[in-house]
């Protein structure tokens, strides 16, 4: 059984030879551990593709999450110069904007006036929304446009021509053996990223009707993106829904502003191509596992344990584990980042003992592997599934 088959079996609740292992890695972890310049990993389709493959092979992961869009092949021609200061690189673009690139964290784009853009709620016209890409090379934009030359997105082309390049790059090199997952952002996540979190959350109470019109428009774009990814041949599509836990909103607001739109996204993608769609949702979600299930998702990723979240794995397995596959629950900070390799092994063993029986479990850190997590700790996950995760 190869990695692709192993992950597919786990997602279908069939018993593979062993529990698969795959983690989402913080971009900073790639920057620190791949031997490639962080500017290139962030901005170049090929460099990011190489980084994904390098760490998948090094850590013996069964899958890869492609969590950046393809990039404009001309990206480097828009650079005026790069300045280095206190270990950070600062790109000065030809349009006057800058991108600050820390060596261990996501880059941030600043406009000419030195501010990061977010849209005032009053200025948003829902019908102009389609898809907000939080990881766009030029930062958050409204209405959407494609790159630094400020070329407006053309209506007949929903996404730029390079949008799916990273997926295609990865599939060409690993697609037969490794499970390749793509990522779309939940309409709710896009909405909060567009407005900034404070404004976005207040808008839920100030003008719920307009918020819903925005979410409806963003749902259409999300479906189009997910369909495009599925059409390229990914093995699963992940909905990134990081702001839908109790750290942000109530179960009632989840029911009103998240559930119906993620349900439409899942139905919309799967109505065209029968690809598994599952959900990444962080933090305090113990009170809403059944609501997440009601979106029609096939699995839930992260399941942060206390103290970062409030999900007890045994409880989650009991409540949703027979219908949905579960991925995660290994504490990314107190175990994966700050623990010893032995502690990682013991915690992974605990997760496997609780969640592996009956299938439907993928061993993973809850949330991303932090940038400075020791590679020796990450390697222990593969050792754990070989030692404690077999179904023979």
């Amino acid at each position: 059984m190869n990695s692709k088959e192993r992950v597919a079996a786990a997602m279908r609740h069939e018993l593979p030879d062993r529990v698969p292992v795959m983690c989402q890695l913080a971009l900073g972890h790639y920057f620190l551990n791949c031997g490639l310049p962080e500017i290139e990993i962030w901005h170049s389709t090929e460099a990011f593709g190489e980084a994904l493959i390098t760490l998948q092979r090094r850590y013996h992961f069964d899958g890869i999450l492609v969590n950046l869009p393809g990039r404009d092949p001309q990206w480097s021609s828009y650079i005026r110069h790069v300045e280095e200061c206190n270990g950070e690189k600062k790109i000065h673009w030809t349009n006057g904007w800058t991108t600050v690139c820390p060596r261990d964290d996501n880059p941030h784009v600043y406009r000419e006036d030195g501010t990061r853009y977010s849209a005032p709620f009053e200025s948003i016209e829902p019908e102009k929304l389609f898809y907000i890409e939080p990881h766009a090379m030029n930062g958050i934009a409204y209405p959407a446009y494609w790159g630094f030359p400020d070329e407006p997105a053309r209506e007949e082309d929903l996404f730029p021509p390079w949008q799916f390049d990273t997926i295609e790059y990865i599939l060409q090199r690993t697609g037969e053996d490794v499970s390749i997952h793509s990522e779309v952002f939940s309409p709710f996540t896009q909405f909060l990223e567009l407005l900034d979190y404070t404004r976005g959350l207040m808008a839920l109470l100030d003008d719920p009707g307009k918020v819903k019109a925005c979410l409806e428009a963003l749902t259409r774009g999300t479906i189009a993106l997910g369909r495009g990814q599925a059409a390229r041949g990914v093995d699963a599509v992940l909905i990134s829904s990081a702001f839908a836990g109790a750290g942000f909103i109530s179960p009632d607001h989840y029911r009103e502003f998240v559930l119906p739109y993620e349900k439409k996204v899942i139905e919309g993608i799967r109505s065209e191509i029968d690809v598994p769609v599952y959900t990444h949702i962080c933090g305090q979600i113990g009170d809403r596992l059944e609501l997440i299930q009601a979106t029609g998702t096939l699995g839930i990723d992260t399941l942060d344990p206390p103290p970062l979240g409030n999900v007890e794995l045994a409880d989650a397995k009991e409540r949703i584990g027979r219908q949905l596959f579960i991925k995660g629950n290994l504490d990314p900070v107190n175990v994966m980042l700050n623990g010893t390799p032995q502690e990682v092994l013991e915690e992974a063993k605990r997760c496997l003992e609780v969640a592996a029986p009956g299938g439907g479990y993928i061993l993973s850190s809850a949330c991303s592997i932090a940038p400075h997590s020791p590679p020796g700790n990450v390697l222990k996950l593969h050792e754990a599934v070989k030692q404690f995760g077999t179904y023979d």
Partner: protein, 215 residues
């Protein structure tokens, strides 16, 4: 009128009503300190309790904070003119390299709701900027926030910077943020750690008692 009406409107997140009722209370001769404590702070105290009990969430807290701000508009100049001091002064900021502000903003809301004066330095605050703000504002409490594992280590650097600059006498340092733990707070020598914004405000009030006892 009853000052509970102000509290109830604040919990409901109605800025227009809170401002109108606060002005009415002033017109009716209620002492400004009483309006502050029994109207606005009492309302925010309910908000904090409901937030901790998962009866209110982030959006509801934000609109309550907006309502409190509306009530403070007519009240604040009078409080200042009367020489009524806040419970304490707090400088807040998200540490260098970190641009996340929502948790820090919530802490600021809860601190204000407890009666603190809050000076918010924003995000990506360098050690030099913290030090300059401490020298300018002489806060009782300095709060540092970090959402990322990569930036929480900056809290340790800052603590060492404050110590070297001799700024820890008479000032308490609090830390918080998703990856921050009590153990980490103790390791870097912070005086308190708040698991969430409501807990942080409660601990800040306790720290103020320590500071007042020390002097």
């Amino acid at each position: 009128m009853q000052l509970e009406e102000i509290s109830r409107s604040l919990v409901r997140g109605d800025p227009g009503a809170v401002e109108k009722l606060t002005r009415q209370a002033l017109d009716e001769g209620f002492p400004p300190r009483v309006i502050l404590e029994e109207g606005l702070i009492a309302g925010m105290s309910v908000v904090g309790m409901k937030f901790r009990n998962n009866e209110m969430y982030f959006p509801e807290v934000l609109v309550s904070a907006r309502a409190m701000k509306a009530g403070m508009a007519p009240l604040e100049p009078i409080l200042k003119a009367c020489g009524i001091e806040p419970m304490g002064r707090c400088v807040l900021g998200t540490v260098k390299g970190d641009i996340h502000d929502i948790g820090k903003n919530l802490v600021g809301i809860m601190f204000k709701g407890t009666g603190f004066e809050v000076i918010d330095l924003g995000v990506n605050v360098t050690l030099d900027k913290f030090i300059a703000a401490i020298r300018t504002h002489r806060p009782d409490i300095l709060g540092m926030s970090a959402l990322l594992t990569t930036t929480m280590v900056q809290m340790k650097v800052n603590m060492e910077g404050f110590r070297s600059a001799g700024l820890l006498d008479g000032m308490k340092v609090m830390v918080g943020g998703a990856p921050v733990t009590l153990k980490f707070a103790e390791e870097i020598g912070a005086h308190a750690y708040g698991k969430d914004a409501a807990e942080a405000a409660g601990k800040a009030a306790e720290l103020m008692k320590d500071l007042k006892t020390a002097f």
